[in-house]
Every structure is written in C-alpha cells, then in structure tokens.
C-alpha cells in the first residue's frame, strides 16, 4: 500500500461522522430508489442534467 499523508488533521470524530452521515444518506437513497422505481413503473423518467458539465453550474 502507498504511504498516505496525514499532514492535515482529519479532526476527532471526523471518521465517525462520515460513517453516520453515509448511513443516514443511505436510508434516503433506499427510499428514493423505491420511489424512482414506482415512478418509472407508472410513467417515463425525467432526464437528469449532467453534474460534471460546467454549463450546468449556476
């Protein structure tokens, strides 16, 4: 494995908070996926804008 630089302090609890946030967001994604599937079942899907396209940055 490569040597990684811990030259910045990630902050106490920064690891834990990311675990918690990812878990909460995961629950959201779960419900959104179900909602999207239901929507897709009843009608067409909306086209999502490409987030990497700088033209979409306002």
């Amino acid at each position: 494995m490569l040597h990684t630089f811990l030259y910045i302090d990630p902050g106490s609890g920064s690891y834990l908070i990311q675990v918690i946030i990812a878990a909460i967001l995961g629950v959201g994604v779960y419900f959104r996926t179900i909602r999207a599937r239901i929507k897709a079942f009843f009608g067409g899907r909306k086209k999502m804008p490409d987030p990497d396209n700088p033209e979409n940055h306002d």
């Binding site: 910045i8 990630p10 106490s12 609890g13």
Partner: protein, 459 residues
C-alpha cells in the same frame, strides 16, 4: 542554490513545495510523494483535468533546481497572472471554488485517487474560471477509508457559503480570521434556527458540531467499520447538491444602479467610455486595475483590449453581480474581487508572510479610478496627496476622474455632515497629483462638470 526562494505559504505539505527562481514559480515534488505523482499521470487523471481546464497545467523538468536531496521532480506550472485570497472572493466565486473541489474528488475517485486536502488556497481564478493549482493534492484512494479532508471541506467551504446564504455575504470574510477553517461550533451558533431543517445543513454542520461538543468515546470503535466508495460517493453527492442549491437573497445595493440612474446622463456615460477606451488603446497595458469598478463597465472595456483586468469594489453584491456577468458572457481576462481600497486585505498567516497584502500584489500598468475620488476624499476624509501616494505605487499610468462639489453625488455625501472640505476643487486636486504625476490629458465630460485625467507617474 542561493537564488531559490521557497514560497512563504508552501511549507506544510511534505510532498513538495513551491519556490521562485529567476522570477518564475516552480513546484518541487519530493521523493516521498513520487508514487502518488506517478499515479496522477498514469491514471490519466492529470490529462483529463488539464483538458477540462480544472487543473493548472505544468511541464515536468528533470532538473533539480533547489539542490535538495529529497528532490524527485521539478514542475514548471503555467504562471498565474494574479494571486487572489479567498477573503477577496464574492459568493459566486466561493460557490464555484467549492463545486470545483467536489468535482475533483469525484473525478479522482473514478481514477483511483482522492484529494488529500480541501482548502480554498488551492484554487485561483484565471479571469472568471476557477482552476485548481496544487498538483500535489492528489493521492492514491483507499476505498475502505472515508475522506480525510471532509472536515476541512466543511469548515473551509461550506461554513463561509452557508454564513453568506443565511446571514450576509460579508461573513465569508470570517475565513480571514480562521484560514484553517471556521470552527463548526461557531458556524452552528451563527446560523439561524431554520437552517437545521435543511437535511444537508443539519448533517454536515449541526450534527458534527453537536457531536464534537459531546466528545464521543466510541470514535475509536468506528474505525473497525469498513467504509465503501459508494458511501463516500453519497457524501460527495450530498455536499454537492447542498452547495449547488445555495443562492443569495436578491438585493439591490446603493451602487448597483449607478449608471442606470437618471442623475448621470447617457451622453456622460458614452463620452466617458469613448475617452477611457481611446486612452486604453493609446497606452496598451498588460494589466489594468479598476478601483471602485461598480458595474464593471470600464473594467470590461479594459479587458476587451486584451489586458488582464482586476476589478475591485468594496460592495460584495456589485462584485458578485459582475462575476456572474463575466461567467455568462464568458469574459476572459477579467477578475472581479471584493476589496475596499480604504482597507485592503492585509498580509496574514505565519510570519505575516503566507498571504500577502493586496497592495503588494496590486501592481498594474494602468489604474482606473473613475467616479471614486469624491468617495475617498469626502466620504472617507482621505486627502488628495494621500490618494496620489497610493495610486503612484500601483501603476505608471493613471486614468482618474475628478467629481466637483457641485455634483449631485457629492451633495449626497455632504447632506448630513458639515462641509469641512474647503480645498476640494479641481485646482487643488491637480496641484496635489502634480507632485507625483505629469498630467498628460484633461477632458471635461458633458452634462456633469466631471473631468477625466490621464496621468503618468514621475519617477
């Protein structure tokens, strides 16, 4: 080597440092970073980011200029015309800088790398585009780990943006007090109660602030739980959708409608533009500084001549509007910055040398000081001699407008105060500036009593 000057802000990261040699800036890559540096190239990440103009391009040199034993490579980056400090940015610039950083994290992850830090100091604006300048910020990505720079991102980008969105754009300046990041406990205290009802603000600000206060003892246990790339991607998405959703409340400032106001006639503006443009073409400049730029009308004219133009104003809303205009019109060479010329950014950081003062960076070929003198001389009690001294240090040429006491704008400045400005007149103005400058041209502007001067500094 004796002529190598290490940049005073480039000493924290062991991966390498920036130095100046013979008037050019270089970046040294140290051996300890070699594998990450090679991965940046072999993964194709460098090429992709440079192609999209997200990363400052560099040329690799195999010459050890510094003579340091830990040397691995020397990089010659594309030289930047100007270094701005984050506390000089408007809301739009902060937002674009934050989105660029998150975009880089996402693109890096796709190529097996990640950003090891997330500070606004890694970003500069070349005109109205943000570009990432620290090519040593990328490191190999370990998908079982969360993002090491997560907290730094929230404190350095989210905090100023949210304070601007919920309280006042001026509060981005708090970053100058906390250049390592605004503590989340302070941010949570400053944000209004309603901000807690935004899920993303709650997750990234209020929740961590509360957890830090409670000093969780199970933080060590959490390390046993494996993190995944998918989890990190969801955090990046959440941060990105939060930043993207941030908008300033609409507002009209004192100066926003300056040129649209009836008091200044169309003939006046047209004639002023004709004279200023003619002078700008007569004395071609590489760099122009427009002080008190307002709507940026004349800064745009300067940029149109091909000069790199720095347009400053004390009014954050003006600068934000100008920045958005530049983005929409895709104007190159024009950099709007929020700077109050009566209180320009000081030198800050370690040894007072990490971030240099604005006037140290502000050299130009031509300075524009249009419809400005009365604000400084009457509004701020700064004498003509003082003005001449400061402008003299910036550029060899000066285009300056004198606004007489009979002008309605001056009357507005004097309406609530005693007129102590007996010596505020054109003759005294010319006399004071003649100490430092040769007056090359004088043109009276129609319908206003205002006068434009072109001056050349005495050496």
């Amino acid at each position: 080597m004796t002529n190598v000057q290490q940049h005073p802000a480039s000493f924290r990261d062991p991966a390498g440092f920036v130095f100046e040699y013979g008037g050019t800036f270089y970046r040294q890559v140290n051996q300890v970073y070699a594998q990450h540096y090679e991965l940046l190239n072999t993964s194709g990440l460098y090429d992709a980011l440079v192609k999209e103009k997200k990363l400052l391009p560099h040329t690799e040199l195999d010459k050890n200029i510094t003579g340091a034993p830990q040397w691995y490579k020397t990089l010659l980056p594309e030289q930047l015309p100007f270094i701005s400090q984050p506390w000089e940015w408007c809301f739009g610039q902060w937002k674009d800088a934050a989105l660029l950083t998150l975009g880089l994290v996402r693109q890096s992850m796709a190529k097996g790398m990640i950003l090891k830090d997330a500070t606004p100091f890694n970003i500069q604006f070349t005109g109205s585009r943000p570009v990432f300048i620290d090519s040593l910020s990328f490191e190999a990505y370990d998908a079982t780990q969360p993002w090491i720079a997560y907290r730094q991102f929230t404190e350095c980008f989210l905090a100023p943006l949210l304070l601007a969105r919920y309280r006042s754009q001026e509060l981005t300046g708090l970053f100058q007090l906390y250049p390592e990041g605004i503590p989340l406990a302070l941010v949570a205290k400053l944000l209004p109660f309603k901000s807690r009802f935004n899920l993303n603000v709650f997750l990234h600000i209020h929740l961590p602030a509360r957890m830090a206060a409670k000093q969780h003892s199970d933080a060590a246990n959490a390390k046993k739980t494996a993190f995944t790339q998918q989890k990190l991607a969801s955090i990046i998405d959440s941060l990105e959708s939060l930043v993207r959703s941030l908008q300033l409340p609409a507002s009209a400032t004192t100066w926003n409608n300056y040129y649209e106001e009836t008091v200044l006639s169309k003939t006046y503006v047209e004639e002023k533009m004709a004279v200023v443009s003619a002078w700008l073409h007569q004395y071609p400049a590489q760099r122009v500084l427009d002080i008190g730029t307002n709507t940026g009308l004349f800064a745009e004219a300067a940029a149109a001549t091909g000069a790199f133009t720095i347009a400053v104003d004390a009014d954050a809303d003006c600068i934000n509007r100008l920045y958005n205009t530049c983005r929409q019109k895709k104007i190159k060479h024009l950099l709007p910055l929020r700077i109050d010329i009566t209180n320009p950014s000081p030198a800050t950081g370690w040894n007072n040398a990490e971030r240099s003062a604005f006037l140290q960076r502000a050299s130009a070929d031509i300075t524009l000081a249009l419809a400005l003198v009365h604000h400084l001389a009457i509004g701020r009690n700064i004498g003509f001699g003082q003005l001449a001294n400061v402008f003299h240090a910036i550029s060899p040429y000066l285009i300056i407008e004198f606004v007489p006491k009979t002008d309605p704008k001056v009357a507005l400045l004097l309406q609530n105060r005693k007129d102590i400005f007996d010596h505020y007149n054109e003759a005294a103005f010319v006399q004071a500036f003649s100490e430092k400058y040769n007056v090359l041209e004088r043109t009276a502007l129609p319908d206003s009593g205002r006068v434009l001067f072109l001056m050349n500094r005495k050496t």
